[in-house]
Amino acid sequence: MTPRTPVTKTRPVTKARSVTKGRPVTKTRPVTKRRSVTKGRPNYLAGFGALLWLGLVAFPLYVMLGATVQSRLEYSTNGPLSLPRSFSLSNYTQDFTNGFGRYFLNTLIVTGSVVAIVLLLVPPLAFSIIRSRSRGSVRIFRLFLLGLAIPAQAVIVPMFYVISKAGLYDNLIGVILPTAAFCLPVCALILTGTMRDITGELFEAMAIDGATTRRVFFQLVVPLSRGGLATIVVFSALQAWNGFLFPLVLTQSEETKVLTLGLYNFQTEHGIDIPGLLAAVVLSTVPVLLVYLFARRALVQGLMGVGGK
């Protein structure tokens, strides 16, 4: 991957160039525009490297989308590399008759419930962490920081034990609860980050009004943490939507199957029906893709678990 090395140089150059022109450097768009009028050599290597990565990312996606609009026969005769000669959505509709509708609904239920639990628990938690003066709150915050280090894989065996003892094996609730629990540390961290940006003066102003804790929370803290809230919603929704290990170990039957498990089973049972399989992959991603298109910023922040700033 050596050819890509110089990719990174472009930005400093454009910035530097503006300096030589004696203008103040700003982070704003004009930088780009100015670049086109200066004579400096464009960074061909960077462009080349970027195109290489583009190819690496786009190629599998191209094969995937191409395969899903072909019939199985056409795909197996022409191979994955050829351009599709026909167009049909039957692979998609067929997936739905194969049970993907139900998996979709199950995944939606899991995702919705996980998000709901997170929204119910995390804002009061974060509020308490930043505003409470009790030692307990500090300890609780430490507990969550510790929790960041626990991978789900590590506790899957006892989780299986606890969930089966609780009679929740093969029940969506049994998937929802641990999934939500494992979202908490990151969400707590994100939201405390956001809430700390609320200035003391605002709390002071509420105090002058004689506001109760509850009013402070609902009228000041929550509205001003919208960015962070959006981030934790997206973050926990993604965790739930893409979760695999908990459903794999804690569910069994067709009634409780989620999308990721459905994909896995589809692959083990009809792996050679590549168009149908890939259509299922696309279907499982559509909701995330929609969010990406319409709320890209919140999604990216949710992905990164970065505070909504």
């Binding site: 990174t8 505003r131 280090a149 991978p151 299986f160 980050g193």
Partner: protein, 315 residues
């Protein structure tokens, strides 16, 4: 999936006792610990208790049929004498190491490139980050289909893939796992670097430009040192993520051929849920937590990261 968070602001700011009365003399309403308890209890029940249980179970013999029995150190000595376990640890380290080595340079370059504010970069970046949207399951399924020796890409590109025995040979299977991890996680780490690169103060570049530094020098002398914290964060996330890789192995190789890709996290699953030896499975799980934590701590120590004000955490 991994997560990264903003720096936690210095503890002092939070802990400094504040008067309940503000400057204006009015009582400031503060939440009690009760606000935090539901979340804390919930988390304790579903994360801390299982973590304690995993430690307990690692000293027990349990096949899921009868009640767990205390087994002393049997599971641990068993693991010590299990050649597959030793191999799996080595494989975990190998795959993690290869992941760090391939993904780090790629994601730094990509991140710094994407930090540029040119319009074309914004558009291309949007495509670059698409792998982030797919679940690990979807990605594994996609690559398994693409790499099928008889019905996938190798069948049409014999000049490149030969007989297409990618997942059936040791080197092939390991390469595929590394490649898929790169495809899957590079965009994520690039995002970290993009954010960090945008935060590099302009004035540094201005100074360098006045000194007549070229692109390469500016990259190595300004950008890279400024990305130091991000590199540490990103490497820790890669290490923890790499050691706990599971979905991709299960779907792409099932630990095969033979045990050639049975990394520890997969071996744990196999012991627990294919062989129903939950005791040994727990012992492996505990070992994984310890190894991941120790490696993270070492990285933090070596880098002197812990002496900095902000802390970043990942899971």
């Amino acid at each position: 999936m991994v997560a990264l968070t903003t720096p936690v602001k210095s503890e002092g700011q939070r802990q400094r006792p504040r008067a309940d009365r503000g400057p204006s003399g009015h009582t400031v309403a503060r939440p009690g610990i009760g606000w935090a308890l539901p979340a804390a209890l919930f988390f304790t029940l579903f994360a801390i208790v299982p973590l304690v249980l995993v430690a307990v179970l690692s000293f027990a013999s349990w096949n899921g049929l009868e009640a767990p029995r205390f087994a002393g150190l049997d599971n641990w000595t068993g693991l010590l004498h299990d050649p597959v376990m030793i191999k799996s640890l080595w494989l975990s380290v190998l795959l993690t190491g290869l992941g760090v080595v391939t993904q780090t340079p790629l994601s730094i370059l990509l991140g710094v490139w994407a930090a540029g504010r040119q319009r074309n970069r914004a558009v291309l970046s949007a495509i670059f980050f698409v792998p982030l949207l797919l679940s690990a399951t979807a990605i594994s399924v996609l690559w398994r289909a693409l790499l099928d020796p008889n019905f996938g890409v190798p069948a049409q590109a014999r000049w490149l893939f030969g007989d297409g025995n990618l997942l059936g040979s040791r080197t092939g299977a390991i390469s595929v796992l590394v490649l898929v991890a790169t495809w899957q996680f590079t965009p994520f780490h690039a995002l970290i670097y993009q954010g960090a690169a945008r935060a590099v103060p302009e004035v540094l570049y201005q100074a360098a430009a006045i000194d007549g530094a070229g692109r390469v020098r500016r990259f190595f002398h300004i950008t890279l040192p400024q990305l130091r914290n991000s590199i540490i964060t990103s490497v820790i996330l890669m290490v923890v993520g790499g050691l706990t890789t599971f979905d991709t192995v299960l779907i792409l190789t099932q630990g095969g051929p033979g045990t050639d890709t049975s990394i520890s996290a997969y071996y744990m699953y196999q012991k627990a849920f294919r062989e129903f030896d939950f005791g040994q499975g727990s012992a492996i799980a505990l070992l994984l937590v310890v190894v991941a934590t120790v490696i993270s701590l070492i990285v933090v120590r070596i880098s002197g990261y812990d002496k900095m004000a902000g802390t970043k955490e990942g899971m």
